[in-house]
Every structure is written in C-alpha cells, then in structure tokens.
C-alpha cells in the first residue's frame, strides 16, 4: 500500500507492506543509508533516527505507525550540505573505527544536546548507554560528544 512519510523535511510516498519497519523504507526505498540494520530488536541502536525530534529505533517501528511525524536521519542533520556541529565533532575527533554504529551515535548525541546543551560526563554516558559499539570507539565518541557540547 502507499504510505506518506515526511523524511528530512521532504514529503515522500512509498509503496510498501505496512508492517515494514521504517528502517527498511529509509534504506531501500529512500536510499538513506545513514541508519543501519544491526539487530532488528531495538537492542543496539545503530538504526536510530529522530521522530519528531525524539531518538527512535527505526528497526522496530512499522511505517504504518509513523503517521505525519517528522523523520530525521543523519543525512537530514547536514546544514547546507555540511556536517552540523555534532557531526563535525565526531569528524574532528575521528570518532569512528568501522563506523557502523556511528550514525546511531550521532543521532542519539544530537537528541541529548538538544535537550541538554551542556550535559555532565555522567549524563552523557547514561544517555549513550543503549548505543552499542563493538570496535571500542567509546572513548573517542565520548570526546566527540564533549566537544560538541562545548563547541
């Protein structure tokens, strides 16, 4: 069936099984590869996008449930085609090894800093707790979030 979505500021129509998780539509129908498939269970957070500004697991959210809410991916954070403050902090700190988890990290950090522009170390760590990284890039990611918070 045809479903209307608002993604990164644009209205989109997709033809898909309504049970399809948002992640698959973003990646396969809309060509947005920032959000990643990691578990399909809402456990690793690599698929994180913002839905009306809230960090959301796109791998378990059926498109039929998105409605007219605004979906934002890491691609949608670009400002005039350039990395935004949080993305730039990740780039400056080289906060990626394989980088597969990084889009999810950026989206979750972005949500935190929007709520709380100057979080404490403990607040950063607790907020980022659900995001899994296997390369052990955590230390660099924490540096990036701190940098974005002070930029």
């Amino acid at each position: 069936m045809t479903i209307a979505l608002k993604v990164n500021g644009k209205s989109q129509q997709v033809d898909a099984d309504p049970s399809t998780p948002l992640l698959y539509v973003l990646r396969n129908d809309l060509g947005l590869h920032g959000p990643k498939f990691g578990c399909g269970l809402g456990q690793c957070v690599a698929c994180t996008v913002h839905v009306n500004g809230r960090a959301t697991f796109s791998c378990i959210l059926p498109i039929a449930a998105v409605g007219d809410r605004e979906v934002t991916t890491t691609e949608g954070l670009l400002e005039n085609g350039k990395p935004n403050k949080v993305q730039q902090a990740f780039i400056d700190e080289e906060a990626a090894q394989c980088g597969y988890c990084i889009s999810g990290m950026v989206m979750r950090a972005q949500a935190l800093l929007k709520m709380k522009p100057h979080p404490t170390e403990e607040e950063i760590r607790n907020h980022m707790r659900p995001n899994l990284c296997r390369c052990g890039t955590h230390a660099a990611i924490l540096r990036a979030v701190r940098r974005a918070a002070t930029a």
């Binding site: 690793c44 890491t74 080289e94 990626a96 090894q97 597969y100």
Partner: protein, 740 residues
C-alpha cells in the same frame, strides 16, 4: 595519450574496467574501456611493482592492497606509506583493496599484519618504482640519478632547471618491473607524512551517511535472500510448508538443497518475514556437550598431538626439586565476534562466472572456497571486498557470501543476503574454549626455578573455515578446524632457567572455531600473566618489579616499556594484595606485559579497578598503556587500535560468554550476550613510543592480550581474590571472595 581518472569507489566496486584500463596502454584503450572481460588481467603477482601500484598521466597513484581496512584506518596508513616513499602529495594517492581481480593475495587481513607485512611489501614496491622513475628521469634530463630530487611527484636536478613529472615518465604505462628487495627506502628523517596523525578519509562519510558499506551496496536487478537455520547443529530438514508464506508479498522462490533452506524475495523485508514465518520441520539433534560441564568436556576431549612450544632446561627435574610449588588452572569462555552489522553479501552468476561482494577479510581465500563449493575454476570467481561492520576476525562474512552464492545460483539473478542478529550470534564461528594448567617452583630465595604450562586448545591453525551453506547443502568445503594461530604466546619471554610449555591439540571443540581478535594470544597471556602475578604474591615481591627482574637485561625496549609504565601509572611499589582491605568498595591495580609472540610489538598495561565486595561487581576505572610497535605510521590510528583493544577486551573479560544447549547456541541477541556500555568504559591513558628508524609492527591485537590478566591482577590486588575464569561475572567474583 592523456588519460585521467577520478576513482569512484562505486565504479570500482561494480567492477568497471575504467580504472584498470587507465594503466594498460596495450592493447588499445578504447576497445577495453567498454568491456572488462576482454581486458588483460592486471598483474596480481607478488613480485611485480604493477601489482601494487599504478600512476596515471596526472601523477595520481593507485595502491592495490590485498590487506583491507576493517575499520582500523590501515587504508590511510597505506596511503601515507606510499605518498612518502614516492614523494607525491597525499591527495594524489588512492587505495583499492581486496579485489581478487585487481589486488595481490597478501594473505588475509589478520594477526596485526596489515602494516607490518602488507604495508612493508607495498613500501618496497613503491621504493622500487621510485628508483626506476629516477633512472628514467636521469635519461630524460640528461643527469645522474644521484643529482636529482623529487618533490610532489616532479623530478628535477638539485641545481634547478628542467623537470619531469611521474605522470610524464610513466603515466598510464606499466612498470613491468620486479619488486627489488634492495631498492633503497626513504630515510625516516625525511618522512613528511609517515608518523603524522593524518585524518582518515572515510570518517566524514561514515558520520553523515554517505559512506557505502557492504550493507548499503546494491546491484541492478538484485533480489533478497535469507536462510532458515536448523534449530540444532546437525538437524536434518524433514519437511517444508511453502504455503506458510503464501501471504507474504514478493516471494520469488523457496530454495531447498539438502539441509540448506533459503527464501528469495523481491524486498528485504519480505525476506526477513519469510525466514521468520516459513514452517519447516527438522530432526532432533544433540551434538553439543552439557554447558555446565564444558571444562570437563574440554579436558576429556581426545588429544591428537602435543605441540611443545618451548622447552628450556629440564622442568621435570626442576619441578621435583625442593621449593615452594604453585599450580593453578585458568579457563577462558567461548566468545562471538559480535559485529554490530550482521554479515552481508551479494553474489551473481553470469556467463559461467561468479562475482561476490562481501566484507571478507580474506577475499583470495574466499574465492578458492567458493570455487570449490561450486566446482568451478578459481579463475571464474571474483571476490570483491566492500567495507563492512568491524569483524575482528573471521565472523560470518564468508558464510553470508556462500549463502548468497547458493541463492544467486538458484535465482539466476544477483541475490543479497543480510544475516539476522540471531544468524550472526548463533552461526558465526566462535573463539574456542581454552583451558590452561600452570605450575611453578620457587626456591628458598623466592627465585622462579621452573615454569610448566599445558594448554588445551583445538587442533588446526589459521586456514579456511568450513562454509555453513556448503555443509548444509553437502557441497564441497574444507572440514578442517581453523581456530587461528592459537598456540602463540603460550611461551613466555621471561628468563627462567627451566621452562616447558605444551599445547595439547584437541580433536574437536564444541562449536565451529575461528580466530577472534588476538586469538590464543589473549587466552594464553591471560593465564601466563595472571599466574606470574600469583608467583609475585607467593614470593612477596612487587609484580612490576618481578617482571623487570625476569626480563632479559639485553632487551632494552622491553625494559623501557616497563620503566615508562611505572612512571605513567605512578606505580606504587609493593606486593599484592594491598594491605588493610576494608570497606565494601575496594580499589586495586594490576600490571601485565608482553612482547607479542616473543618477537614483535611491546606493550605494558596497568589496570585500575574498583570491586564491590557486596555484589561482586567489577568497575574498571582506568588503563595505562605504554606501547612500542616500532615505526608508527599514523599515531591516531595506533591510539584508536589501543583504545579499541582495551574497551573490547574489557567487555570480553567482564561479561562475555556464549551460552548453548545440547543443540545450538542460545545467546542469540544482545540481551543474552551483553557487551560493555558507555557508563562502564574506563579512562585510557596511552604513551606511544615511536621509533621511526625501526620496523613498523602491528597494533591491532597486542594490547588486547594483556587486558584480562591486568584486570585479574588488579582484582587480586584490591581483594586478595584470584580470578582464573573469564568472564569475571559477579557470581564468580563473589565465589572467589569467599575463599579469601
């Protein structure tokens, strides 16, 4: 003829000939540009300069690397090495990796060998090219090579005057030259980019979503596939009810081949749904040992041979002599690679040839395995590396490749297979369980007179890991165990007069084994460096001082590591455990040291921990690291590897353990196989020792070897309780505390 190229990664991945053609003037270009199949094969022979690099008319350099960037940054390392050796701008160097049609077989990307072995080969090819370019320039400029200098790829006389560029000298032509092992390397004092923290090029795209991972890569006309796994290892497929997925849109085909059961669909989501919903019945199978009796099982597994990895003096006599006898048994659980992105691959059969895109760390080996599986000539199989999620060893990539190839053959179209989380946790090959017995004898002065150890580890070495799809469908595949180089670091480098280290090689191991970061070296060093700490405590000496005492006085680099570590960590000299242990939460510190495989990278670490004695929780608060991998190519890359080694291994040490029933792995997600999270990440303080005039050694593994022992030693220092079984779960810590 003026040929330029702008290497588009997508074009390269799709196998477009444009890039290769740019370097082959003979036969004519125009004919070839259209048809890659008519192209003469690019050299991939390890003794040819053209195998490793090509230079176009504009002086742009393409490096062909058999070693691939698994997220480690080695792509930038290779770029720096070649840019410096050839004296060309960094921006003019690009790297193509892991394509069996284009890149040499430099061995799989493992064992901390990418720079140490792969980079060094490429460097020698670049040095040979540079020498040849100087000789050619000398002819053209009517000068002697020794009177010439090069800057930014342009050669001229030291005295000034006419110049000639690399592009003009070789642009688009082959060198047709053997790699000269004697070609002089650049003097490290003249390095411009080697040793500098040059930023990786892939990171901006990874942060903003533009980078193409294997998981993002698409091929025209591609279908999606998924595989329905047996509920137990060895279970036979009895019946399939295709009607059970009638309602799912876009199902193209159910593929049944022996015990292999797959579904091909038009969309990825339909493939996921079909794999979940397809009803199949399987025979009962119980092939795994009782999880609770894993270590009895390992100890009683038939030994097929003993590898005596060191035998110094006579331990039989020395152990029998009077003295203080120590013995202990260590074990290390089964681990999964736990890649955040489950394995993914695309295969296509076309005109009797197979092309397979995957994130395999060993595309040349995969090519041979797929050729064997489908009874094809390896010449008709091409495997192309596309960056994936970190794999840390041989995870499921090759199996996803075999799955996709089997389905692509059935479909007659390209098929992409994306493994599920349960596929990855359940079906990637595992780091095998390791059991280690150690004994030592100390004389009246507390000196170590004898050291004996026995390691119970599966037979085999680094080879090809059996492909799941081939096994299930009963197609040809290798059935040898390939656990990786797991006997290494069973030896110890300390100066003890009598040492015997024996690896009992076991006939089988419960789950298909493979190497996971620091295979064997981690488990073996855990036992060795923890047991050494037990000896220090028994002798009532400071554990860092003990390591200094038993290090060869001629090994200056080793001693410097320990000396610097003492300063960096503000080490307080005293025996462990600390005196006056009181309060619920107690703090301690532990040291560990290795000269990796006794021949390369030196690392020393100190771990600081807090142990909550009421519940057994361990918090690793800080790690200090001193690290000497010789010549550092990119310090940021090395530091990232060290941090990754520590955090990943802290996770493995504290938390990780595969669970299984008699049929299959049961820890199939992140809830049942938890890993370290942000609040638990230690602070990491690194001191890199850069030795620009020494050989570059690996940094991807060595630090990891020390993490379990450093934590065990720190917990002992804090509490007096010795942890000898990884993972250090709270219940094990509580048990150990009871025995204090």
């Amino acid at each position: 003829m003026n040929i330029t190229f702008t290497p588009s990664r997508r074009d390269i991945l799709k196998g477009s000939g444009a890039l290769v053609v740019a370097f082959s003037l003979n036969p004519p270009l125009e004919a070839l540009a259209q048809d890659t199949s008519a192209m003469p094969p690019k050299s991939v022979a390890l003794d040819q300069v053209d195998t490793f690099l090509a230079i176009d008319d504009n002086g742009k350099v393409v490096v062909y690397s058999g070693k691939v960037d698994l997220g480690t940054g080695v792509r930038m390392g290779m770029t720096q090495i070649v840019a410096d050796e050839l004296d060309v701008p960094l921006a003019n160097v690009d790297v193509i990796e892991g394509d069996t049609a284009l890149t040499p077989d430099q061995g799989p990307t493992y064992g901390s060998q990418s720079i140490q072995s792969g980079g060094v080969q490429i460097r020698q090819a670049a040095a040979t090219a540079r020498k040849a370019l100087f000789e050619e320039a000398a002819k053209q400029l009517n000068a002697k090579p020794e009177d010439l200098v090069v800057a930014e790829g342009v050669i001229g006389s030291k005295a000034g005057g006419k110049t000639v560029s690399y592009g003009e000298l070789i642009g688009g032509k082959n060198f047709t030259l053997k790699v000269d092992p004697a070609a002089p390397l650049k003097n490290p004092a003249d390095f411009k980019v080697v040793g500098k923290p040059i930023a990786r090029r892939d990171i901006p795209g990874k942060v903003t979503g533009g980078f193409t991972y294997m998981h993002d890569f698409r091929v025209d006309g591609m279908l999606h596939g998924s595989v329905i796994r047996p509920p137990a290892l060895g279970a036979k497929l009895e019946n399939v009810d295709e009607n059970s997925i009638k309602g799912i849109p876009g199902v193209v085909k159910v593929v049944r081949d022996g015990n292999f059961l797959g579904v091909i669909t038009e969309t990825e989501w339909s493939a996921v749904r079909a794999a979940r919903e397809l009803k199949a019945t399987w025979s009962k199978s119980e092939t795994l040992p009782d999880e609770k009796k894993l270590w009895e099982h390992v100890r009683s597994t038939r030994i097929v041979k003993d590898d005596v990895t060191s035998n110094i003096g006579d331990t039989t006599v020395a152990m029998a002599a009077e003295g203080k006898k120590l013995k202990a048994t260590y074990d290390f659980a089964i681990h999964t690679h736990g890649s955040i992105g489950p394995s993914c691959a695309i295969s296509e059969f076309k005109d009797g040839k197979l092309i397979c895109w995957s994130a395999s760390q060993a595309t040349h080996n995969l090519r041979k395995q797929l050729a064997q599986m489908f009874s094809m000539s390896p010449d008709d199989v091409r495997c192309v590396y596309v960056d994936g999620a970190g794999c840390y060893g041989r995870n499921g990539h090759e199996d996803a490749a075999a799955d996709s190839a089997l389905l692509a053959k059935a479909a007659g179209k390209p098929v992409r297979v994306q493994w599920s989380r349960a596929d990855e946790h359940g079906w990637d090959p595992k780091g095998p369980p390791t059991l280690i017995d150690l004994r030592a004898n100390l004389d009246g002065s507390g000196a170590i007179t004898a050291w004996e150890s026995e390691f119970f580890i599966p037979q085999g070495a680094a080879g090809n890991v059996e492909l799941v799809a081939a096994s299930l469908s009963d197609l040809p595949t290798e059935h040898k165990l390939a656990p990786g180089g797991i006997v290494q670091d069973s030896q110890i480098g300390y100066k003890i007069p009598n040492i015997k280290t024996t690896c009992h090689r076991l006939e089988t191991t419960p789950l298909r084994p493979a190497w996971i970061r620091t295979p064997g070296r981690m488990q073996n060093s855990f036992a060795n460096e923890s047991f050494l700490d037990e000896i220090a405590a028994a002798a009532n000496v400071d554990p860092l001082e003990l390591r200094v005492k038993y290090t060869d006085p001629a090994d200056k680099r080793g001693l410097e590591i320990l000396e610097r570590l003492e300063k960096l960590s503000k080490w307080e000299k005293r025996p462990s455990p600390q005196k006056n242990i009181s309060g619920n939460v107690v703090k301690g510190r532990g040291v560990s040291y290795v000269k990796y495989e006794l021949v390369r990278t030196y690392v020393g670490v100190v771990a600081e921990v807090e142990v909550d004695r009421t519940n057994g929780n361990i918090r690793v608060t800080r790690f200090y690291v001193t690290h000497d991998c010789g010549q550092v190519i990119n310090p940021n890359g090395v530091k990232a590897q060290i941090e990754g080694n520590i955090i990943q291994t802290a996770s493995r040490t504290l938390k990780e353990e595969i669970t299984f029933d008699r049929g299959q792995v049961t820890s199939l997600d992140w809830a049942s196989y938890p890993i370290l999270t942000f609040p638990e990440v230690p602070e990491i303080v690194i001191e890199l020792i850069d030795r620009p005039t020494e050989k570059p050694w690996g940094a991807g593994e060595p630090t990891a070897a020390l993490v379990p022992s450093a934590i065990s030693n720190a917990v002992f220092d804090a509490t007096g309780a010795r942890l000898r079984s990884v993972p250090f779960k709270p219940e094990k810590v509580r048990d150990a505390l009871k025995s204090v």
